[in-house]
Structure formats: C-alpha cells, structure tokens
C-alpha cells in the first residue's frame, strides 16, 4: 500500500516541470515541519544533544595545537565576539585557492596554515564540534551567503547541480525541495531542504552531522553516486543552498528527525 503510494508520488514528481525558486516569504526551515517533541528538543539547550558538541567545541577552541602551539582563541580570542555572524556568510570565497570553502574547510585551513597541525577528518568529532561552536555564535543571525561577486560562478554551478536530474530515480533536488516541499513522502514531510541548522543533531544518526553528510544521504537516496566529502560539487551545493536560504536565521545546533 505505502510502497505503491511512494512510487506513484515519485513518478508524479519526476513528471512535473521544475518550478522557480521559493520566495523569501515562503521559506520555511525544516524546524517548522517537525513534531512538537522534536522542536522541544531543539529549543531547550539542556535538552538539545547538539549542545554537547558545542561544549566540546568550546574546549577545543581554547586548546593549543600543532607545531605553532597556538589555540584558536590565541588569534580569535572570544568566539562569542569574533565569530558572531561568520557562519551566516559561509561557504566563502578563498582567494588563495580560487574557490569557495565551507566552514569546515575554513577551520581546517586555520589548522594547517595557522596552527601548523594536520587537518581534521571530515565528520570527525573534533571538526564537527569546532564547526558547531563557531556556527552557534551566529544563532539567530540571518543567512547572507553568496554576496562576494567571486562566488557567482560557483553559485551557478551549485544551482545547476540542484536542478539536474540524476540517479536511478532520475530526480533533481528541486523536484522534491522546490516543487513538492509541502507534500509527504511515505509519511514524512519532504521539507524545503534548507541548510539553516548545520552541523545538526539528527535523531537518525544519533549524533551531530555536517551538511555534506546530509547531502550525501539525499544523493544516495535518489540512487546516485554521492560526491566525496570535500569535493567541489558538495561545496557548490552547500553554497547554492545557503544563498537560497538568504534571510533565514541560523539555527545551529538544530535537531532533525
């Protein structure tokens, strides 16, 4: 029964023409689609397991590392001041590399260039914790990514990836997240796929995870080969999603089912 419904819905989606972008007044965070219980988990810091990672990040912020023997705090002092609003502008253009880097990438650049330490692995507890701690300083700040004119071609690439049909299900991200976000798939809301809460605590993961991890899950979902962590495609998708979410407040660390 449910299987039949699912397939019918997917077919309907694949058939529909791609709609245009969601207008500002219609943008809705994944939060608004959640049950009262899951919302409560995000709303209260002592109930939000993502805050445990933020605490870890705060400890790491102060810890000296690498052959430079410097802590993040040695250069950036109080994160509550220096990092306020930073995450709302990421991914940002990195001149030396000639391409955008996401917040995780930026932190790892500081690891290697400024601390002379080896970069953290993607999805390592350390990188997630530091990213969550930095991003949490922007909680409530409206997303304002993509301003830098150097980013324009990369936003465009991200957009192209977003509307490109792929995988065995031959679906584009836009088929679900632009055209059918008000519908449900096998009982769960599709949502607009807004990137407002990352890194976030996903009940499914029982852990904190990055936006890249989430995107890889969606790509695997349409039975396409997921891009590698740190690949240009994932950063471009992140960048496009963040520009698409302009004006929405950062929620890190959010909670999602």
């Amino acid at each position: 029964m449910r299987i039949a419904l699912c397939i019918a819905l997917l077919t309907a989606m694949a058939g529909a023409a791609l709609a245009t972008e969601i207008s500002l007044d219609q943008r809705r965070s994944g939060y608004s689609f959640m049950s009262a219980d899951t919302k409560a988990m995000q709303d209260e810091d002592t109930a939000n397991p993502g805050m445990l990672f933020v605490l870890d990040g705060e400890a790491l912020w102060k810890r000296k590392a690498g052959s430079a023997d410097k802590a993040c705090a040695d250069c950036h002092s109080d994160a509550r001041v220096s990092m306020k609003g930073v995450a709302a502008h990421y991914p940002a253009f990195e001149k030396t590399l000639g391409k955008p880097v996401d917040l995780e990438g930026r932190i790892n650049l500081c690891r290697s260039n400024h601390q002379q330490a080896s970069p953290f692995a993607y999805e390592s507890r350390e990188l997630l914790a530091l990213t969550a701690y930095v991003a949490q300083q922007s909680r409530g700040v409206p997303i304002a990514a993509g301003d830098d004119p150097d980013l324009a071609p990369f936003v465009e690439k991200g957009h192209a990836l977003f509307v490109q049909r792929q995988g065995q299900l031959n679906l584009a991200c836009a088929n679900c997240h632009d055209d059918n976000w008000d519908k449900k798939l096998a009982g769960s809301p599709i949502t607009q796929g807004q990137p407002t809460g990352y890194p976030l605590y996903r009940l499914e993961w029982q852990a904190l995870g990055s936006l890249q991890r989430r995107l890889r899950a969606c790509i695997t979902g349409i039975r396409a080969q997921a891009y590698d962590y740190g690949s240009p495609e994932l950063v471009e998708l992140e960048l496009y999603l963040m520009t698409r979410a302009r004006g929405m407040p950062v929620e890190t660390p959010a909670v999602r089912p």
Binding site: R2, I3, C6, I7, L10, M34, S35, A36, D37, T38, A40, M41, K184, L185, A186, G187, S188, L203, E204, W205, Q206, A217, C218, T220, G221, I222, R223, P257
Partner: protein
Amino acid sequence: MANSEHTRRTFFGLTGGAAALVIVRPVDATPAMLSAAIRNVVGEANVRTGKVKLDIPPLVENGNTVPMTVSVTSPMTADEYVKSIHVFNEKNPQPNIGNFYLGPRAGRAQVSTRIRLADSQKVTAIARLSDDTFWSATADVVVTLAACTEEAI
C-alpha cells in the same frame, strides 16, 4: 539503532521503511520475555493497573530517540511515596529499558528520558510504592522506520 537489523534499507521506504510513526493504544497480552523481566522486579506480587501514567507521543519521528515520561499518582510524603519505577519493552533484544529509584525527597514521582524503539512493541511502566504494592501502565507502540536511512557502520 536498538535492534539488530542491518539490511540495507533504501530511501523513502520503497522497501517498507518510512517515517518513524508511533501509535499508542491500549493492549492486553504479555509475551514471555517481558513477563520474565517483570517477575524479576515484582517477584510474586500482584501488579495492578492504575496510578501510573506512561506518556509516549502518538507520533514520533524516529524510533532512535523517543521521548517518554512516567508519572505516578502519589502524595510523596515520608510515609506514602514511590520507591521505584521500572520500564520494560517487549521486542528489543533486552526487555529492560531503565529502573529509576526515587524516594520521599523527590517531591514528585515523575521521570523523563529518551528511549529506543526500533520496532512495533509494547512498553510497560511499573511503579513500586512505599507499601510494596505494584502498579502499572502499558502502551502499545507502533514504530515504522525513518526515511533517508544510511548504511549501518
């Protein structure tokens, strides 16, 4: 996940997995494993229905993290209080979920936690009062799994 199922589940429940959907309704029968675990706590004592309230939301989004609150009607005075609350499930590999020991100093006989329920099953909460009587509440919880599930480790 709490269960030992590791088959690859595809996206969107094309193989049957879907959003975690939990429906709570009253039940009766008690399977062997659950009743053995309960006997371990209550011995030969009679367990009566009542006084205990077991709150599990009718709709949860993921069986990995299900909020649960157990409260017991009791004045919580020095001579009339709840000694302990025991929570059991029927189909996880182990029937116990948690034992909670309170006393008159608690002031209110209520505990909350988050539990794992990766399968449709019965959850039972039993309270032991200061007069060593046992009271219980049971809910039948239907869980279907979440979409967008990744591979096991």
